[in-house]
């Protein structure tokens, strides 16, 4: 599939230039952005608790939103934090969708989902502390989990996370502190 051509002769355009090109409906630039950020988004959604089977749909929704929002991108901020902001919104929407409510109802009714049961292979492959942390992370509130994943696991600065989540910097630190406290408590309790 071919869209409007990316004309610039530069071999490795900067992220900001790619977003600007996407703002001009340049799909080749969108493809390049996809190649650069798809792994990050997949990892991020996985850590935010989006089911593996749904991740592709949410990633697609992110890039379509990038298409719509590219003209409003402010180049003084990193594309990574901007994309994480969009991804966070998409993950929240996904979590709040009807399907997620159905899954929760099933959980309340005592129906165990596949994700809750670790296979022997997984137990061997995946160390106990990591599995405990994974479970504790899933139990965190959405807001605390987003901050913890962005700052601690994805390596964004506090400012970048604040920008991505649209909250004050102090709120980031507060949420991060409480997220760490809960996670450390979970690890401590299990040990």
């Amino acid at each position: 599939m071919t869209a409007l051509p990316l004309v610039s002769a530069q071999s490795a355009p900067r992220d900001g230039d790619l977003v600007a090109a996407v703002g001009r409906d340049d799909l080749e630039a969108l493809g390049k952005l996809f190649e650069r950020y798809e792994p990050l988004l997949r990892r991020y959604f996985g850590r935010l608790g989006v089911a593996p089977g749904d991740v592709d749909d949410v990633i697609q929704a992110v890039f379509l939103e990038v298409m719509r929002a590219a003209e409003r991108y402010d180049s003084q901020y990193s594309v990574k934090s901007w994309l994480c902001g969009i991804a966070t919104i998409m993950a929240r929407r996904h979590h709040r969708s009807l399907a997620r409510w159905t899954a929760r109802m099933a959980a309340w009714a005592g129906v165990e989902t596949k994700d809750a049961i670790a296979t022997p292979y997984e137990i061997v492959e995946h160390d106990q502390a990591a599995r405990i942390l994974e479970r504790a992370l899933a139990g965190l509130s959405e807001k605390k989990r987003e901050v913890f994943v962005l700052v601690t696991l994805e390596g964004l600065s506090g400012e970048e996370a604040a920008r991505a989540l649209g909250v004050p910097l102090k709120t980031v630190w507060t949420r991060l502190h409480y997220a760490r406290r809960e996670l450390r408590a979970a690890l401590e309790q299990s040990s």
């Binding site: 990633i59 298409m67 502390a129």
Partner: protein, 371 residues
Amino acid sequence: MTTRLDLGSACSRAWQAEAALDGRLSRADAESFQRHVATCEHCTREVRSLDTLRAVGERLTVLTSTPLEQRRLRQSVLRAANELALHPRRAPRKHAIAFGAFALAAAAAVLALLVLWPPSAPDSSAPVVVGVPTYQIQTSQDAVWSSRNHATTARLLLQGGWFELSVDKLRASQRFLLELPDGELEVKGTRFIVEVRDAKTARVRVHEGRVALRLRGQPPLLLGTGDSWPPLAAAPAATTKPIAPLASAASNESAESSRVRAPVPSAAPTPPARGTGSVIEAPTDSIPPAGDAFAQAMSAFSAGDFGKAERLFTAFERAHPADARVEDATFLRAVARARRGDVTAAQAIARDYLRRYPNGLRRAEAERLLR
């Protein structure tokens, strides 16, 4: 593996462990805390516990995709994005009900307003009409130029001087043209500088977006962000540049022409040019490379010149029948013809596309053209 973490803290400086990890401490405070950690058991445990949390976090399961899965998703994303670009106003299906409810409520509100306050202006409910492109222009003091707008086309006649233009993004039917003494320049929502000296185009520099530069006797050039014309080696040694812009205007004005004449130009060195444009149309007596030929056609298509785009796509298909982009070219010919209003011919091309590419990437769109 089990991990022992100490959450208790009897030291008043324990909070600094997190602050240091997050980079919230000044250098002096961070160094002071490091020295303190060496002597404080509680803070040592606090730092270790945070390190452990981070280390365990790094061992969490990470979702990955194979290259094949990534390619498939990329294709799916681009297909959806292309659809979005072609039909930007269509609301997502899942929001259709909410949108419909909102539209009904809005219509009811408008009706109520009309009943309570009959409008004085008869055209207040008229549909949105695409007008002349809007832009801002800054010129040198010696600039001589005029503008002529017609329907959805803005045309500036530049006779001499230095001009910096910022053109708002154009809609499908809008065109923005600069007539130069020795050619013309077509714009697609961009910010750029043009300089005209001695009845010749002296310089073009694109800050943002794309412009097509067509000078008489030369192959047209497509200049992208950061590109300049002429290229560095061919740039004139010195030329003029304004000290301060004189004229500044946001135009969505009438079809009449305007003229600005300022007194004395002021000399200043030209900023260094960088990059070069890529040729988008080769001389007629040679077959351009496939990439250039396709780019020419796409350029015409994106500029809204659908007649030219169709001709160039046809020429591309004939000259490069084995190229992978022939499929796109065929489909885009159908779209170009449809945009020109010839639905019957567009459908014939779409049928031809579906016959040649029954499982083509554009199948869904081609089938839609047939409805």
